[in-house]
């Protein structure tokens, strides 16, 4: 096949044309890193030792290679998490790019009644396909699923809580001084609405937004929820 270099230049062969011999792949808007939190073995574990980077990827094809070869959420041990974050952002609120932000989240308490694998897959597809937000919103940092004894929790992390933040300039960007607070809030609410659709929640259920700092300083995120949709 090395003799076909000239032909390859002129003909675009996708994985759909030939799954073993393709020469182009579908780019993602961003590079994404998959992280895994190992369950703590008991006392004395440093959380940073439990948070492990799995792989970084930038194409649709590679995403499926990963998805098809890694344990589904339903087979993870209790206290495990998957995090899918933009490259360069650690999936913890202390990260410089997260510390002024927050998250939309929902806990599924009837674990047996839901298909968590399908929900997590669609959450990841919305992230990598860039359908959680509009082109210039700039809010989405990553998505996460937590496996716990009493629930599965799925979340979308955002850069801001709808206000301007340090070092983001004067422009109409996430956290920028040029983005009115009303617009910032509207963008977050739209992300929450799309997330709720992905989770296929009935109108009687709500997804909640909370700032990371509130969550870290109060025992309960529920008490500090800023928005619900």
């Amino acid at each position: 096949s090395s003799t076909a270099a000239a032909d390859i230049d002129s003909k675009l062969v996708t994985v759909f044309h030939d799954k073993d011999n393709f020469n182009v792949k579908h780019p993602l808007q961003n590079k994404w890193t998959l992280w895994f939190t190992k369950p703590s073995s008991g006392k004395g574990d440093n959380w940073n030792d439990l948070l492990k980077e799995v792989i970084t990827f930038n194409s649709v094809e590679e995403f499926w290679g990963i998805y098809n070869n890694i344990a589904p959420v339903s087979e993870l041990a209790l206290k495990s998490d998957y995090h899918l974050f933009k490259e360069g952002v650690r999936p913890e609120w202390e990260d410089q790019q997260n510390k002024h932000g927050g998250k939309w989240s929902y806990s599924f308490k009837e674990k047996r009644n839901i298909d968590i694998n399908d929900i997590w897959l669609h959450t990841m597809l919305a992230a990598i396909g860039e359908t959680l937000e509009e082109d210039n919103d700039g809010e989405v940092m990553g998505v996460v699923v937590n496996v716990r004894k009493a629930f599965f929790r799925v979340g979308v992390w955002t850069r801001t809580i709808g206000k301007s933040i340090p070092n983001r300039g004067d422009g109409d960007v996430a956290g920028g001084k040029g983005r009115p607070a009303e617009k910032g809030k509207q963008i977050l609410e739209n992300i929450g609405k799309r997330f709720k659709e992905i989770l296929k929640l009935p109108a009687t259920e709500y997804v909640e937004f909370s700032g990371h700092t509130d969550a870290a300083h109060s025992g309960s995120t529920r008490a500090k929820a800023k928005f619900t949709v």
Partner: protein, 103 residues
């Protein structure tokens, strides 16, 4: 005397994995002009909701989930030769996960 040394050769990556490593990322204008095989909803699908999309500026890629799902059974190779071993080290095998969560 056995001159067959095949057993000690390292395993070779599959054709699909080699393609993954060498394929180029489509440029926006290429994505727009691609024609997919029959049955695949690409840019020219009659149902725009199923399409891959490139923004008007031609600088950003958006993909509808239904477009992305079409790849699920098409690219199934592990993304590197070491991936299974790496994942086993990080996450453990699935049996460990099951027994840990079983009550």
């Amino acid at each position: 005397l056995n001159l067959n040394t095949k057993a000690v050769e390292p395993p070779q990556p599959s054709a699909a994995l080699q393609s993954l490593k060498t394929a180029r990322l489509l440029r926006p204008e290429q994505l727009l002009s691609l024609s997919y095989p029959a049955g695949i909803n690409g840019m020219s699908s009659p149902n725009p909701a199923l399409n891959a999309a490139v923004s008007k500026k031609g600088t950003s890629f958006k993909y509808d989930p239904n477009f992305l799902l079409q790849f699920k059974t098409v690219f199934t190779e592990q993304p590197s030769m070491e991936f299974h071993q790496q994942v086993k080290t990080l996450i453990g095998d699935n049996d460990g996960g099951r027994s840990a969560s079983a009550r």
